[in-house]
């Protein structure tokens, strides 16, 4: 079972990811904030994490740093708005696997996820 954690403060993003990925055999867990996501990661390390960059309580970059401390093997795909491409680049430098831009089409998401699991 390929487990994926989606950390995003936006309900619709979490639901969208779940709805797109679940039919393709992925087990999607969700967290509505950076803190909540990190708590889930305390229990188990997910192989793939979709992480929103801009969240109210904790910045995506900070969450990424924490993730990299706890789960070394976890792959992180940053989900970002166009305005934060630089931040996404910064995230890649900090060890993120990839990034996708909002709004994204289901295929874009699937492609990115597949790529992450295949490498």
């Amino acid at each position: 079972m390929k487990k994926i954690l989606v950390i995003d403060d936006e309900d619709i993003i979490r639901i969208s990811c779940e709805r797109v990925l679940a039919p393709h055999g992925y087990q999607v867990s969700v967290a509505a904030s950076g803190m909540a996501g990190l708590e889930l990661l305390e229990k188990e390390c997910f192989p793939l994490i979709l992480l929103d960059l801009k969240m109210p309580d904790m910045d995506g970059i900070e969450v990424l740093k924490e993730i990299k401390k706890r789960c070394l093997d976890a792959k992180v795909i940053m989900v970002t708005g166009y305005s934060t491409v630089e931040t996404a680049v910064k995230a890649l430098k900090l060890g993120a696997f990839n990034y996708i831009e909002k709004p994204f089409a289901p295929d874009t998401l699937l492609d990115a996820v597949r790529e992450a699991f295949n490498t």
Binding site: I12, S16, V20, Y82, E86, P103
Partner: protein, 533 residues
């Protein structure tokens, strides 16, 4: 006529002539009167002396007749004497006033007029003949009935031994005065002469006065009136603004000096006025320049402020909208998989996806605009970026029917400070705009050149299209965000605004020249990095 006369009277020359003329007239009159008066006195004393000798002559001629008491002889002698010119009459009368002899026979026996000098020459009162004058008056001058003067002389005939010893024994020896000889001598000749002389002198005075006045008038006209009127007309011309006019009076006197001084003054005034005008122009230009600068700065500030607030808002909104858009896109796709392909529902869902993607595009533009404040600065080669951008667009379908007229100099390499991707975005924007303006058919000219603005080197990148041009009324709004003339869905109205914001951020500027129907030129000027030149 009256006005002309009055004006003439008011002239300096007229005043001087009148004053001098009056003075001369009074002087001449006094002179004339003094001469006539002196002459009159002289003639009078001559006449009196003449009358004295005349009386003596009468006495002498009648002497023998008197002693011999020959009355007809005496009367005849008097008549003879009176034939002479200017003798109006001679008579002899006694102390009581009874006339014994007279050259006028009708007067014989008559009493003399006692109220005249005849008696009153010696007697103070006729009634009391004893009272005598201390200084007897022997002669007087009166006017006769013809209007001429007559000299009347009365001389007493004193008693003497020969008289009272004569045979006739007519007079007693104690009688002191025997009678009087009275002669009336006409002064008509003198009067006539004096009258003629008076006329002549008056004539001389008048001629003299006229001659002096005329010559004075001419002289005054030449040395005063003419130069003064010249000066006045010169002053009027200068007062009207003709500073070139010079009053040319070369008399060498005070008026000449005045004219020279005036001409000099006019020149000074002209110079001062010119300088003042120059200053005014300079000041006006300066003020206009400053006003324009202030306006520009203000407009720029307003624009910057507007852009900044708009950018913040756009970023916020765009970011928030991205999430629901993701939902729309995702769920539309999910649904699309459930409906039969090529069905009406499938087509409708595709429209939803398309429109959502359009929203995403607009938002991307907004975010680009919001990010117009760049983060990274590096030295970039403008030539390379430009070439790469052109290469990129040439392969796109949009540009297939567009001819490129490229005039990019590869040396020197124009090095500017900025963000490579941003510059690329700007150039791309310019090219897309050009293609849109020409309906994707026409010529795009791209050129680079080095220019100097305020002693600083700039690179000017020109994008000229042969498109529709920009109407005058749209020029002001060109760089405003969301201003677009493109059809709905084709442009967001952010390209130029973003480009402008970026160029300005790096100290450059964007200029536009456009002619409706002919085309538009955009000039992007970026400051060059001097050290690399």
């Amino acid at each position: 006529m009256g006005d002309v006369l009055r004006r003439y009277y008011r002239t300096l020359a007229a005043k001087l002539i009148i004053a001098v003329g009056l003075l001369m007239l009074v002087g001449s009159f006094v002179f004339w009167y003094a001469i006539l008066y002196k002459q009159e006195k002289d003639l009078q004393s001559i006449a009196v002396r003449y009358s004295d000798s005349f009386i003596k002559f009468v006495k002498e001629r009648t002497y023998s007749g008197m002693l011999t008491a020959q009355r007809p002889l005496i009367q005849q002698t008097l008549e003879d004497i009176s034939i002479a010119e200017s003798i109006e009459g001679v008579s002899i009368f006694n102390h009581e006033g009874a006339t014994f002899f007279s050259s006028k026979k009708e007067d014989i026996g008559k009493l003399v007029n006692k109220e005249t000098i005849t008696c009153k020459g010696c007697h103070l009162e006729i009634e009391k003949p004893v009272r005598l004058m201390p200084y007897p008056q022997k002669w007087t001058i009166y006017k006769n009935d013809k209007g001429f003067r007559t000299l009347k002389v009365v001389e007493p005939i004193y008693n003497e031994p020969s008289c009272y010893t004569a045979k006739c024994h007519f007079h007693a020896p104690e009688q002191k005065i025997l009678g009087f000889i009275e002669a009336n001598l006409s002064l008509a000749l003198i009067d006539k002469a004096e009258f003629r002389q008076g006329i002549a002198l008056t004539g001389y005075v008048l001629i003299f006065f006229l001659a002096i006045s005329a010559s004075l008038g001419i002289v005054l006209y030449k040395i005063v009136s003419k130069p003064v009127s010249q000066l006045v007309s010169g002053m009027e011309k200068v007062a009207k603004g003709d500073f070139e006019h010079s009053v040319d009076i070369k008399t060498g006197d005070e008026i000449g000096a005045l004219a020279d001084a005036f001409t000099l003054m006019a020149k000074d005034i002209k110079a001062a006025k010119e300088q003042q005008e120059q200053w005014t122009h300079k000041l006006e230009a300066e003020v206009a320049k400053k006003a324009e600068e202030i306006q520009k700065t203000h407009a720029g500030m307003l624009q910057t402020e507007k852009l900044a607030s708009l950018g913040r808002m756009a970023a916020g909104v765009a970011h928030e909208i991205n999430n629901p858009l993701t939902g729309i896109v995702t769920f539309a796709h999910l649904m699309l998989r459930r409906v039969p392909p090529d069905s009406e529902d499938a087509e409708d869902l595709k429209v939803i996806i398309e429109q959502a993607e359009r929203c995403a595009k607009i938002i991307r533009g907004l975010l680009t605009f919001a990010r117009a404040t760049p983060s990274e600065k590096a030295e970039v080669v403008i030539n390379d970026i430009l070439s790469r951008t052109i290469y990129m667009v040439k392969n796109q379908e949009k540009f297939h029917n567009i001819k490129f007229n490229i005039n990019i100099d590869d040396s020197p390499r124009f090095i500017a400070v900025g963000d490579l991707s941003q510059y690329q975005q700007i150039f791309l924007n310019m090219l897309i705009n050009a293609a849109d303006a020409m309906n994707e058919r026409g010529v795009v000219t791209i050129a680079t050149r080095k220019i100097i603005i305020n002693d600083k080197p700039f690179v000017e990148i020109e994008f000229t299209d042969t498109g529709c041009g920009i109407p005058e009324e749209d020029m002001d709004k060109l760089f405003e965000p969301f201003f677009t003339t493109k059809p709905v869905g084709k442009g967001t109205g952010l390209g130029l605004s973003v480009s402008h914001g970026i160029v300005k951020h790096y100290g450059g500027e964007v200029l536009v020249k456009s002619a409706v129907g002919k085309g538009t030129s955009f000039f992007i000027r970026l400051p060059l990095v001097e050290s690399v030149l």
